[in-house]
Subunit: 671 residues, 2 copies
């Protein structure tokens, strides 16, 4: 381990990064110093020599994107942000690392700290987000660039470690990135042979470089990532020169570099060094500065990023001014995208239906809505995890997004649900105004739940299109039939879950979803495989309120039936039957719990009056949570066990979803 | 496409498989004929020439294991089971494919059809299960085999397709399999270049063989998987000869082989052929038999499996008889394992604690329980997804399960939660009596939810050990802090979820988990990162009832506080405070909803009497579903938003989890 007597400027900068991380973690008594200490050299070279960004304007459109996929190492990123002059990370913020209300939370949060692009921490997500960011860049470039004016032109850089590389989601995304030839994606693999449990010899001995070659990436190796700054720089140049493949630079480093006793151990991954070891590290690296102190030379060097960034942004603004003059329509559209301004009357494109219209599955209504919106919302881009013709998510106005055809809007994810989720998050967080949607069977949200959760946490305007939403899907059987899935998704804070009953409600759901998207909120919609009737009183407006009556009576109802999705039709039929027997019936369609809960008390009372205690919910899923709406004197018609492989109609009948049974349960309540 | 004039015996057998699949799918008007038609040759060679199994005894211990990871192609497996003489799949069962109550559901279900080892359908799960099956074989062999008597000696074969290969979970498991050198795992990659959306050119162009080489597998290629039966056989022999690496045999086939118009298309993947195309396929393949008719020659050839199997099993029984004579103790232990008989008084090893015992996090209590049980339950085997020293799941009595050390019981999964889940399912379904446990942070159950769901569906006796169970984990922040996770897991049918309050409850949870395991039911336990006190009235017995009072009063309580896990202590303190103000308090600890729901009505009434309507639940998670227990006049102290990065104590306080706040909310209810 080198002991620097007189420190080069680079060494001063690199060690500034290291010690800010060490000191912040120490003060917080919590955090991960190992990666910042080991990856400081590569990150310094990247931020100092290659990355184009404006610390004073984290939203500059054409900035390079940086993702720390190994999010636990966030002090690396915070240190760089502070050193290069971001207003969002001051020295006080560094000192408040991992404290209540600080701008420097324990893992990077884009919704908390301007300059942080995505939220990482759960391993594998960040690199997959980075694939999405690179896809967004490629698409926007293909869409807007002109031969003489390349408006969109930036790189996506990511740092990932062994942990991310073990996670399946990263393999999914990187396989797709290789297929797509995303030439402006450059990933640094922090090859330090250590994960939480110890040496990677314990469980991770694959040939990572070979795997990435198998994916079709350009792969390089920098053998001494601790000291060979030149080698790192050359590798980045070489990576940039390869324009038809993503690049992976394996950088061999020592975790916790500089710490004499704890370097290269699992212990330094996620614990403060402790006072004694910090002193030894200072000695070892020849660091004579106080804690949180940055040598002036290093600071002024790093702060040159401000001027560079300002100048880069000014150049781009000039370029955009020319673009605006020469291509006013494209410029206007570009600005409309980025400002997240929806076109006037965009929602008028959504279909409305009546009971005379053809009976159709709501997944077909979804298809109609997507295709009605696609021409008026060119920012809509997305696809299915290899279930395009089941999810019905193809945009007919466009082709497949492929190498050499990035202008297309149909994303072909392959059987990679989790990768799809994280990629969509990345596309949204590129902040070019693209509205991504990802689709699969509802039950397979289980494969991608971590990405869906992140969409809710990280303020991602994504749309999750989920079909085949109950036992009614039939023969594919219990592994494919959701029973508990909707409930489990309703559980996620900040996620709007909508289960439309028919065509109008599907249109209403898409209206909400798009409006949510431009406000950086995700929406998940669940659609049926099987046909459902178009209800007389269903409406787009009703969906926005979350629940509304579709059948009503004079005065106070004897009972309220609350249905969702395909079961609303059942309730309507049951209500007819009971009405003919003289009962006063109300049927409430409740496409979304969250939207209903957000209404004011008066509206909620009007839909579900406290005085009416006889309430029956009807939904082909578990009853969990329904007590909130049906009350202690209400009842539920639900599915509490896994499904079965049989035709859908048989399943619904065997599980009690018949008009007769709804009538019977309603009568039991009223007796 | 070859037109066979006189069919060889092999061709008769292979086409029998094909046409059974074609006919069954046609009759059901639903299903996936493409893979069975394309993979019939490789499956025939495997089942006919290599696989050791007894159709008349699907439970013969030393059978080779077969997994159809591409589970949608299950008619392939059902056809082979019928042809080789399994009692569980008769011709009537074939004809009832995908019908209510049939033994031939739309995806293979081990709990439905004896002879099916695991439940597949969701892609990627099966191959990961197969890794688990192979690990179980290796462990049992290392544990029980003697130099002169190799009791445990069988292969695990799997067929997977492009879909499974795209899924991240398969990469996780295969990377681990390569690291572990599982030489008796042989996977067939049905390389047909087609997935649901069409050609793999659309999104899956990686070099799969190279990737598997990177994982450390032995890789071969059979270029003509449609006709080169010899080549397939040679490849299997070569694979078996490689004993220190798992083997992958890429077999290039044509999906829907034999169908003149639909072969090699996505359409034949998942739809019936239709009458016309069936006729053309018959012509094409020279098939003159009726639907569901199998030529006598083929049937009698295939049925030789009965005699082979019977003979193989008899040999093994003889071997076991010798083993029993020579090594009676090992034999007794082996039989105890396989019969799932727990040792007498095993549960006496579990610790019990009093309030005088050291205050500890329940994850530390979990560690104590695991290590108390490990010596008395040698069938307990498991590990963490790279969080061993956070989950505290290391068994001190054993070493790490590694190549050359398969007798060890600590499984080192690496950062591969989903792979871990599916592997544990495979270990349990090996049916050697091993009780696997898998661990990670509770929030990362999101990464492995599909495998947890399958453990509940497929009757898997697995134990899920989840730590860091609330916002109280602190600084790692919202990406790591569960809020909705427990609720989302309670939603899964057949899964017992337990959140112990202290040491006694942790012991009680483990008692339930182990008892569940030997009854093929999964259990998930959630443990705290932070210290909790040992409660005076907590008990092992109480946990088994799901909920029980830990504080009580004379007569009817004024209010009942219901807490779980770390919040029970808070309730107890609040109750003390309110008691001193003259209130009559009951505190119910509710470690498990499912266990409580399973009690009889009298018990439930005794714990939560209908007459006591003032009830407050206290749990650092969402309130969803609590209305069931607190009723419409009750209240909840919950967390409805994501967490924050700050010290755990600060988080709990900021989110309202203080004694004062519990007291305040209780008073508000009582006023």
């Amino acid at each position: 381990m080198a002991v620097a007597t007189t420190q080069t400027l680079e060494a001063l900068c690199v060690n500034s990064i290291r010690f800010l991380a060490i000191d912040a973690v120490e003060k917080a008594k919590s955090g991960h110093p190992g990666l910042p200490m080991g990856a400081a050299p590569m990150a310094f070279v990247l931020w100092d020599q290659f990355m184009r960004f404006n610390p004073k304007n984290p939203d500059w459109f054409n900035r390079d994107r940086f993702v720390l996929s190994a999010g636990h190492g966030c002090m690396l990123q915070y240190a760089l942000m502070y050193l290069t002059g971001y207003d969002s990370v001051t020295l006080d913020d560094i000192k408040s690392f991992r404290q209540w209300d600080s701008k420097t939370p324990g893992h990077p949060e884009n919704f908390e700290t301007p300059g942080v692009e995505v939220t990482t921490g759960p391993l594998g997500q960040g690199i997959a987000n980075a694939v999405g960011l690179a896809m967004a860049e490629a698409h926007m470039a293909a869409r807007f660039n002109k031969d003489d004016l390349e408006l969109v032109d930036h790189y996506t850089y990511a740092i990932l470690g062994d942990g991310c590389n073990m996670e399946g989601v990263s393999g999914e995304a990187c396989s797709l990135a290789g297929h797509l030839g995303l030439g402006k994606l450059i990933a640094f693999y922090d090859d330090n042979h250590i994960s939480i449990d110890g040496s990677t010899d314990i469980s991770f001995t694959e040939d990572v470089s070979k795997r990435f070659e198998a994916y079709g990436w350009h792969v390089q190796h920098v053998a001494d990532g601790n000291a060979d700054l030149d080698g790192i720089a050359k590798a980045i140049e070489a990576a940039k020169a390869v324009t038809d493949k993503p690049s992976m630079i394996k950088v061999t480093t020592t975790i916790g570099y500089g710490s004499p006793n704890k370097n290269n151990t699992a212990g330094i991954h996620g614990s403060p060094l402790g006072g004694d070891e910090i002193n030894l590290t200072r000695e070892n690296l020849g660091w004579t500065y106080d804690s949180f102190q940055v040598p002036d030379d290093a600071m002024s060097h790093m702060r040159k990023a401000i001027e560079r960034g300002s100048s880069n942004e000014a150049e781009w603004n000039e370029l955009f001014a020319q673009y605006k003059t020469k291509y006013p329509e494209d410029a206007a559209e570009f600005e409309r995208f980025v400002s997240r301004t929806l076109p006037a009357d965009w929602d008028k494109a959504l279909p409305t239906l009546t009971p005379e219209d053809k009976v159709m599955a709501t997944r077909k209504h979804s298809q109609a809505c997507l295709n009605a919106l696609a021409p008026v919302l060119p920012e809509l881009i997305g696809g299915s995890a290899d279930l395009t013709h089941s999810n019905l998510t193809e945009l007919k106005v466009s082709g497949s997004f492929q190498k050499g055809a990035y202008e297309n809007r149909n994303l072909r994810f392959g059987v990679r649900e989790h990768g799809m989720g994280a990629i969509c998050n990345g596309i949204a967080l590129h902040k070019s105004g693209l509205i991504p949607y990802g689709a699969t069977f509802l039950v397979f949200t289980d494969y991608m739940r971590a990405a869906i959760r992140l969409s809710a946490l990280a303020e991602v305007g994504a749309i999750w299109v989920m079909t085949h939403d109950s036992i009614a899907l039939g023969e594919d059987g219990p592994t494919h039939q959701p029973v508990e899935t909707i409930a489990s998704l309703r559980a996620i804070p900040n996620l709007t879950v909508i289960r439309p009953a028919d065509g109008n409600e599907t249109a209403g759901a898409y209206k909400v979803a798009v409006e949510n998207a431009v406000q950086n909120r995700p929406t998940l919609m669940a659609f049926s495989r099987q046909n459902v009737p178009n209800l007389a009183k269903s409406s787009i407006e009703g969906v926005a309120k979350g629940a509304y009556p579709v059948v009503d009576c004079e005065g106070t109802p004897d009972i309220i039936l609350i249905g969702t999705g395909s079961e609303v039709g059942l309730c309507v039929e049951a209500a007819e039957s009971l009405t003919s027997e003289g009962k006063k019936m109300r049927v409430v369609s409740m496409p979304s719990w969250e939207l209903f809960e957000a209404q004011d008390a008066a509206y909620k009372e009007s839909v579900l009056p406290k005085a009416v205690t006889k309430r029956l919910s009807v939904e082909a899923g578990i009853s969990m949570g329904w007590c909130k709406f049906v009350g202690s004197e209400g009842d539920t018609l639900s599915v509490e066990t896994f499904g079965a492989s049989a035709p859908g109609g048989t399943c619904m009948e065997k599980y009690g979803f018949t008009v007769d049974n709804v009538v019977a349960k309603a009568k039991a309540l009223m007796s």
